[in-house]
Assembly symmetry: C2
Homo-oligomer: 127 residues x 2
DNA sequence: CTAAGTGCAAAAACTTTGCAACACA
DNA sequence: TGTGTTGCAAAGTTTTTGCACTTAG
């Protein structure tokens, strides 16, 4: 798997760099509409990037996948189910939990939700 | 929304009671094949149960949804990505993490993964 | 009786794939 | 030049929906 550099791939990569939260393939497709990139190319590129470790994929609770740059630092995003605003956490809230799981069961958690769903301050007040 | 008791619903409910891990709609359909229940009935029943709080739904990382009885006790299941064996946790490993998030950001986490993915003892050794 | 549930088939939403044309290294 | 990449259209999966018929309460 060589990973050639092409126009499409560069566009997709630089778009991903601009994102502050994971993005869906269809969104990428829409945002790069003017660049005439096919949806299948978007999917294939994202898959290639995934295999290469450049991006990570996460399937949301609505069933659609979102992608984000596999940056060096492991971080999490809180997304409000109501207003869809996001908060970026600068630490991993699950480190301790995963350590405990490891100690007690020898189970190695390797796939956490990067996006954590819930209600933000404002929206939880309203309910 | 009344939630009538029907043959199909009773079958699905008792099947759910037998499960030790979340199950997909297609699996329910297959297991109840002899009972002549349509796949759309399975989906509609699960949706009705969800709305009623009888079952919960979770979308896996492969994009398919799984369902489980909303039992009184909040628990988690560790699923090995390699061998697919499951371990049932009797506590919520994320309680502390969610408390901290709440304190620091006022964000109320309400949708955790019930199924946590990773590698079990044996499979993590092999790699 | 009548609102809710079901079967069937068709549609929807997202993702993958086959194949021929194309472009990077 | 040759392998990886792309476009296009078609197919695959899982889930949802419309409508006429049936059933529980």
């Amino acid at each position: 798997m060589e990973l050639k550099s092409t126009k499409s791939r560069n566009e997709i990569l630089s778009l991903l760099k601009k994102q502050s939260a994971p993005i869906a393939a269809s969104e990428i497709f829409k945002k790069l509409m003017s660049k005439k990139i096919t949806l299948s190319t978007v999917y294939r590129t994202l898959e290639a990037f995934s295999k290469n470790g450049v991006v990570k994929k996460e399937v949301q609770q609505n069933g659609t996948a979102v992608y984000y740059l596999a940056s060096n630092e492991h971080c999490h995003i809180l997304e409000c189910k109501n207003c869809h605003n996001t908060i970026r956490l600068k630490y991993c809230p699950y480190d301790n939990a995963n350590d405990r799981i490891k100690k007690e069961t020898n189970f190695l958690v390797d796939e956490e939700n990067v996006v954590i769903y819930g209600l933000c301050k404002n929206c939880s007040k309203k309910k």
